[in-house]
């Protein structure tokens, strides 16, 4: 036999990952919807009414006349997209002269009507509705495809999009208040500026897109943006007509060149990928062990003596361990084998269950007819899956193996404690791995990062007990370049982060003792003491109630913490606080998940956080959160309240190999002190949820993989 086939497959997947290949492909004889210089669906500076494919995540970087915009855009639903933008504006006029201004802004684009027959597509959008309002504008736009390669767009803009060729707002027929747009508030930004939406002068804009070839698109537009602040200090406008050419370098990657406002050249790079299209949809992990039908198995019998039983357990444990599954406990009684497993490898718990059932079919004595498989999280039994051995044997090669086996599996929520086998505890584990901590969109430098080595160790003296610690040593990085001194009026609970970056090398990331327990059938508990996170130490206690067959779950968390020294060794500063939240979790459906946390934050402020995430079934998570507390916007400082985006990319999506690690990052316009939450590890909801029935069902496609 010759190895090497799997190596070829693996290389192919990695090549695709590295090339960011599997983004969306161009639909036949259709005009690709481009991202404009602001990173939302559009022409050059102006919008169009169409959308990008659902789920697509795009990064655009555009630059002209010293206006550099970097935008992350997510097609949240088939109709709605949202963008977060970081802009560098050179030669920006202020009272003290020309400066380089950095600005952060959000946009939303919603397609109201689809194109059909004679009817054009229609979209509406809001720009910079939260930030300081430099790009504040609204639009309604219609797009109509005339030939398969030619599309016209015409729209009306307000705010910044009503500054060239503006006329009296037609909405003023409804109310005279639409005639004037309130001046941009000079405050801290961050407030929803709905009072000015669609007010003030309006203007028309439009353009044409011609898909010359499958890769080349030519665009011309009439812009209604007079660049009222930037022009003439940054550049001089001679014309409102812009021309552009976009070339698709490979699917998902576009390079565009523009000639703008009769005086400037511009360039834009777009990189898009869609979480729905992984390089290897089924994964490239080795095949599972084949099911062994009892008819062909040498009749095994349950060993009688204690030493033989020990040898039998060791054999099951070793076979499972080869499959990336840790055996926690095993018990045979009557015709039932009850097996507790810890899945250390597979993003889908259902795959770990399927592989365990295959292993049991090979090793269990012939009289065992029922497998009860119990996935364990932190020593807590979460679900109990009852699988008939005969179903494994008859469904292995069935066309409908997936749904038939799910339908025949009974899933229940177990009561009672685990039954760990001798030798499972105590257990000591350590690992040394690299870490990367980027700091994105800092006001002074859009990207900073530290890279180094992290040593973590975990000791489990018994079921549910976990003592763990971590130490980091930086190798290279520039996080400590930040010279910004916090001007926060609140206790500096987070805004001194750069002092932690400067002094904490090496740093103890955490050093904790935790106890996980299950006080009731659907109730999970956690108590953690020690150095909980890089900035705080203390005690944290949590209870989670997660009823069966309900999309809702409820949790409470109470913490008393003291702020750690900047050097992140064992010392503490004087600030201490009692903080905690009541959390409601809701599985909305269609992959959307919402979480509401209400309670007291680190600075002692009271309020609530709403977070909404879209979770793809392959593990990608993209979401946004916002926190409002009783801290007045003026006290909070720039940004007015805490908000941000978070993205989590499963490593298995990139490599096609089973791995439960994900690369997660949170992007905040600014990190300040209001609405700051403790960042304790081991929170229950994310530990327990993947092991419960709804997630098992969503992952059942991998049961036989």
């Amino acid at each position: 036999m010759m190895p090497g086939l799997s190596e070829q497959i693996r290389r192919g997947v990695l090549a695709a990952t590295c090339a960011l290949l599997p983004a969306s492909t161009l639909a036949e004889s259709e005009i690709a919807t481009s991202y404009n210089s602001y990173g939302y669906p559009g022409l050059i500076d102006m919008p169009v009414a169409t959308s990008r494919p659902d789920g697509e995540l795009a990064f655009t970087a555009s630059s002209f006349a010293g206006q550099t915009r970097s935008t992350l855009t997510f097609q949240i639903t088939p109709r709605l997209s949202g963008s977060f933008r970081y802009t560098e504006l050179k030669d920006y006029p202020t009272a003290t002269g020309l400066v380089t201004n950095y600005d952060r802004s959000f946009s939303l684009h919603y397609r109201l009507i689809d194109e059909s027959g004679l009817r054009p597509a229609v979209a509406v959008g809001l720009n910079d509705f939260l930030g300081t309002g430099i790009y504040s504008s609204e639009y309604v736009v219609a797009s109509k495809t005339l030939t398969p390669r030619l599309r016209f767009s015409l729209g009306m803009g307000w705010g910044r999009l009503g500054t060239s060729g503006g006329f009296k707002n037609p909405l003023s027929v409804f109310s005279s208040k639409f005639e004037t747009r309130p001046a941009r508030a000079a405050g801290q930004g961050g407030t929803v500026r709905s009072a000015s939406w669609f007010r003030g002068d309006a203007a028309l804009f439009g353009g044409v897109e011609w898909q010359a070839t499958d890769r080349l698109k030519l665009t011309a537009e009439y812009s209604s943006d007079a660049y009222p602040i930037e022009s003439p200090s940054a550049f001089s406008r001679h014309s409102q007509v812009n021309f552009g050419a976009s070339y698709m370098l490979r699917p998902g990657i576009d390079l565009s060149f523009r000639y703008l406002y009769g005086s400037e050249f511009g360039v834009q790079l777009t990189a898009a990928l869609n979480p729905k299209h992984p390089p290897a949809p089924s994964g490239i992990e080795p095949a599972p062990l084949p099911v062994l039908a009892r008819t062909s198995a040498a009749a095994l019998s349950w060993p009688a003596s204690a030493t033989e039983q020990q040898g039998f357990r060791a054999r099951v444990a070793e076979t499972l361990s080869d499959q990336g599954i840790r055996l926690h406990g095993i018990d045979l009684s009557g015709d039932t084998a009850r097996v507790e497993i810890e899945n250390t490898s597979y993003p889908q718990e259902a795959q770990a269950v399927g592989r365990t059932a295959r292993v049991l079919s090979r090793l269990m004595p012939a009289h065992i007819g029922t497998f009860v498989i119990v996935p364990i999280a932190s020593g807590m039994p979460v679900s109990e899956l009852t699988i008939r051995r005969s179903d494994m044997e008859t469904l292995e090669h069935d066309l409908d193996a997936s749904w038939k086996s799910f339908a025949r599996t009974r899933i229940a929520s177990p009561a009672g404690a685990t039954m760990p086998m001798p030798g499972r505890y105590p257990r000591f584990d350590w690992r040394l791995k690299p870490y990367l901590t980027p700091s994105l969109f800092d006001p002074d430098n859009p990207i900073r990062a530290d890279f180094g080595a992290e040593l973590t160790a975990t000791f489990e003296p018994g079921p549910g007990w976990e003592i763990s610690g971590g130490v980091r040593k930086r190798l290279v990085g520039n996080l400590d370049d930040s010279m910004r001194i916090s001007n926060s009026l609140l206790p500096h609970v987070r805004s001194d982060f750069n002092l932690y970056d400067k002094s904490g090398d090496p740093a103890i990331t955490h050093l904790t003792a935790a106890r996980y327990f299950k006080p009731g059938r659907d109730v999970y508990g956690r108590v953690t003491v020690g150095y909980l996170e890089r900035m705080y130490g203390g005690i944290s206690a949590e209870l989670l109630w997660m009823p069966d067959n309900s999309p809702f779950a409820l949790g409470v968390e109470a913490n008393y913490v003291k702020q750690r020294d900047f050097d992140q060794m064992l010392g503490f500063q004087s600030y201490d606080v009692a903080t905690g939240h009541v959390s409601a979790y809701w599985d909305v459906g269609n992959g959307f998940h919402a979480q509401l946390d209400a309670g007291r934050y680190l600075a002692g402020d009271w309020g609530a956080t709403l977070a909404v995430d879209r979770e793809f079934n392959n593990g990608w998570k993209i979401g946004a959160f916002a926190t409002l507390t009783d801290v007045p916007f003026s006290t909070f400082g720039e940004g007015s309240f805490d908000k941000g985006l978070r993205i989590s990319v499963p490593i298995s999506w990139l490599t096609g190999e089973p791995n439960k690690t994900a690369y997660s990052t949170t992007i905040r316009p600014l990190l300040r002190d209001g609405g700051a939450r403790l960042d304790v590890g081991g929170r229950l909801y994310e530990q327990v949820r993947p092991l419960r029935e709804p997630e098992l069902q969503d992952g059942w496609g991998k049961f036989w993989r």
């Binding site: 036999m1 010759m2 190895p3 086939l5 799997s6 190596e7 497959i9 192919g12 990695l14 990952t17 590295c18 990064f59 630059s63 970097s70 050179k90 050249f265 360039v267 790079l269 869609n274 979480p275 729905k276 299209h277 992984p278 290897a280 949809p281 089924s282 994964g283 490239i284 095949a287 062990l289 084949p290 062994l292 039908a293 080869d322 499959q323 990336g324 490898s345 292995e396 090669h397 066309l399 193996a401 997936s402 749904w403 690299p434 990367l436 994105l440 859009p446 990207i447 793809f616 079934n617 490593i651 990139l654 490599t655 190999e657 791995n659 690690t661 990052t665 496609g701 991998k702 993989r705």
Partner: protein
């Protein structure tokens, strides 16, 4: 490229910021194969040691991957034989017709080969018969492709061709039978990513 643009507008286009932005995208979407290997982000699931049940071997090649392997039989269950490579890729056949793959990245998860098997035994004449295949989509949910197939005319007396048509694909599978009616050689369509697989029994 950079030079040309630099001449157009040396002062205004901020290449540094653009480069930073591009680096950010790479950070978000992750590095390259070397990085993945160095960082130990691969899998930790071992390829099962093949426990062979007979001395037969199957030579398989994937022209689209420029890859070849020799497989040995590891399981026979309900008329299906599972063959496996040393590095853990398995292929399952019902009477010589490919019904499952494991480890190819875009695996054929299951399929209904009853029609093809009946055709190979000469029971179908020129009639159409359905062939249903399941895969995993990008979100690891079952995705079904269904085909209508019929025996196609060939100029080769030992080869049987089968043409299968779906709404957006037409594929042709070829089977070579020995005098006992067993498939000894074949060229079968796996899926849109892998395309065709060639098999040959090398020892009996």
């Amino acid at each position: 490229m950079g030079e040309i643009l630099a001449m157009m507008r040396p002062r205004h286009i901020s290449w540094r910021a653009a480069a930073c932005s591009a680096a950010l995208m790479l950070l978000v979407v992750g590095g390259c194969s070397n990085a993945i290997d160095t960082l130990g982000l691969g899998g930790n699931v071992a390829a099962p040691e093949p426990q062979l049940i007979s001395p037969e071997r199957l030579r398989v090649s994937l022209p689209s991957r420029d890859a070849q392997a020799v497989l040995g039989p590891v399981s026979r269950n309900g008329g299906v034989t599972v063959w496996q490579t040393l590095d853990g890729i398995s292929l399952s056949f019902r009477d010589g017709v490919l019904i499952e793959t494991r480890g190819l990245g875009d695996d054929l998860m299951s399929s209904d080969a009853a029609g093809t098997v009946a055709m190979l035994r000469g029971r179908m004449g020129g009639d159409y018969y359905p062939q249903i295949r399941t895969y995993l989509d990008g979100e690891q949910r079952t995705a079904i492709r269904s085909f209508m197939c019929r025996r196609a005319a060939t100029d080769d007396s030992v080869r049987i061709d089968e043409t299968c048509v779906s709404t957006n694909e037409t594929v042709t599978n070829s089977y070579w039978l020995n005098s006992a009616g067993s498939v000894i050689r074949s060229r079968q369509w796996v899926g849109p990513d892998i395309e065709y697989m060639e098999t040959e029994h090398v020892l009996h």
